[in-house]
């Protein structure tokens, strides 16, 4: 069953500055965009790399290794070398804390 996990305080998440977190075995990139906080799987679907270590802009997160881009809001792969999307997760903010549902 999916459950909500506290991953950060709201203040820790700066605009377009990804935060890499781990919930059990799942690595997640949490990103604040102008319209809300989003969470996607942190591992590039091309080769192993953490997207949270990549460049973030315009709602896209770029893999630091080979520059595949993913849509932070949906997880969709936007350009090669990645083809497959990353999973996306629901988020919520409660009492100044950010939660991700995994």
């Amino acid at each position: 069953m999916p459950a909500w996990h506290r991953v950060a305080t709201e203040a820790e998440l700066k605009l377009e500055t990804p935060l890499g977190v781990r919930i059990g075995d799942v690595q997640i990139a949490v990103v604040r965009l102008p319209d809300g906080i989003y969470a996607i799987n942190d591992v590039c679907t091309h080769e192993y790399a953490l997207l949270s270590e990549g460049f973030c802009e315009d709602g896209k997160l770029e893999c630091p290794l080979h520059q595949a881009c993913f849509d932070i809001r949906t997880g969709r792969a936007l350009n090669e070398p990645a083809e497959l999307p990353v999973a996306s997760y629901r988020t919520k903010v409660e009492g100044g804390a950010v939660f991700v549902e995994v």
């Binding site: 590039c44 679907t45 091309h46 080769e47 192993y48 790399a49 270590e53 990549g54 460049f55 802009e57 770029e62 893999c63 630091p64 290794l65 080979h66 520059q67 090669e80 070398p81 990645a82 083809e83 497959l84």
Partner: protein, 402 residues
């Protein structure tokens, strides 16, 4: 409109895909001499040798994709002649295929050694998937491996083989590794990385001869160094596969000479990917042949646009990467060793930016710092004079300097 693409590697595939995107009705034939579906080459020297899953699967698209896209992919089909006048290609099976446009996407082959003893079957190169699988099988016996050439491929093979438990010696003729693509300070870091992992690295040692060794092994001679090896991998660069073009009397000068969008001199004949030598705006329009995933990925799109009558010269800031022993190196533009190199580092991460005399970024080298790639590319493309002291301050985000 019928387009025949000669070569079903990454460039041929990308040209076919882009054509389909631009013209739903075009008849597209993609002819490849290998038996495999089109694949990208970067995993060959790494994931394929290591036997780890390259993640997305080795093949960029599965077989069904080509059928869905109505791209007539024919593997195992070698083209033996191209007639530019009639825009006809002839296959090894004797079939003649006429087209409205012919794209030559034959790529490059591995440069081979010429020193005495090079013909021994234990001296191999790495260019194709079959090469990589054969090499993987040989590495399973943990041979003593000698790698000729301390460039990208040589060092990637050395790292993979070392990770598989082989004893590895690299012979490099230049005084430093990756001398063609990074400045000395970066070469030194990678030399130290390899030595730290137990690779024996002989710099400034050009191979002179390969002879039979005492125990049935090979004996390599490079100046004052003698290396005993069971297997030799040669990684000394690529040679453009221009034989078909030359036989068709196209202009060939270390690559097929084209305009900025891959058009050769006879009409309706194009060159796509690593085989093309095109005037590149990054080098002031100087004819340039690039060998990298990036050029195979994106230049063929410009060719497809040319075929469809669109004006879209290929003008990307050059970019390539290598992965060795868990380090990721990315090179953008031209970090010429003659330029002033400004380094900014945060712990293990490094970004080094090469500035010209006017203070404009001409190139950048990133070690484990890929998040700087896009800002660096924009700094290079922007051509703005930069404040070197701010650039050197890692606490100033690069995007603040754009």
């Amino acid at each position: 409109m019928r387009v025949v693409i000669v070569g079903a590697g990454q460039a041929g595939r990308r040209c076919a895909e882009a054509l389909r995107g631009l013209d739903a009705a075009a008849e597209i034939l993609l002819l490849g001499d290998e038996m495999h579906l089109p694949y990208d080459r970067p995993p060959l020297s790494k994931a394929v040798l290591l036997g780890t899953d390259p993640g997305h699967g080795l093949f960029a698209r599965d077989g069904a994709y080509y059928a869905e896209q109505q791209i007539a992919l024919r593997t195992g089909t070698r083209v033996v002649a191209i007639d530019p006048a009639t825009r006809t290609v002839e296959t090894a099976g004797g079939e003649r295929i006429a087209a409205d446009h012919v794209v030559i996407a034959t790529g490059a082959r591995a440069r081979t050694l010429t020193v005495p003893g090079s013909g021994d079957p234990r001296v191999v190169t790495l260019r194709t998937l079959d090469d990589a699988r054969a090499l993987r099988a040989r590495l399973a016996d943990r041979p003593r491996l000698a790698v000729i050439g301390g460039g990208l491929i040589g060092l990637e093979v050395a790292a993979s083989a070392r990770q598989l438990g082989c004893a590895v010696t690299v012979l490099e003729a230049a005084e430093r590794v990756m001398a063609r693509c990074v400045p000395p300070s970066i070469s030194n870091r990678f030399a130290a990385l390899h030595r730290g992992h137990g690779v024996i690295l002989h710099l400034g040692h050009a191979l002179r001869a390969i002879e039979p060794g005492a125990d049935g092994a090979l004996s390599l001679h490079a100046g004052d160094v003698q290396v005993t090896a069971d297997l030799v991998v040669v990684g000394i660069g690529g040679v453009p596969a221009t034989a078909l073009a030359a036989a068709a009397a196209l202009s060939v000068q270390d690559g097929i000479v084209t305009d900025a969008q891959g058009r050769t001199s006879p009409p309706h004949i194009y060159a796509a990917g690593e085989v093309a030598r095109l005037p590149h705006p990054f080098w002031g329009g100087r004819p340039t042949r690039l060998e990298a995933w990036q050029v195979a990925q994106n230049q063929p799109v410009a060719v497809a646009q040319a075929i469809c009558g669109e004006d879209a010269p290929y003008d990307e800031v050059p970019w390539h990467w290598t992965d060795q022993f868990g380090w990721n190196l990315q090179v953008l533009g031209d970090p010429d060793p003659q330029l002033r190199l400004v380094e900014r580092s945060e712990g293990e991460r490094l970004t080094a930016i090469a500035l010209d005399l006017a203070g404009r970024a001409r190139g950048a080298v990133l070690i484990n710092n890929g998040r700087d790639a896009t800002p660096c590319r924009r700094l290079i493309a922007g051509g703005k004079a930069l404040d070197a002291s701010m650039l050197a301050d890692a606490s100033v985000p690069l995007r603040a300097l754009l």
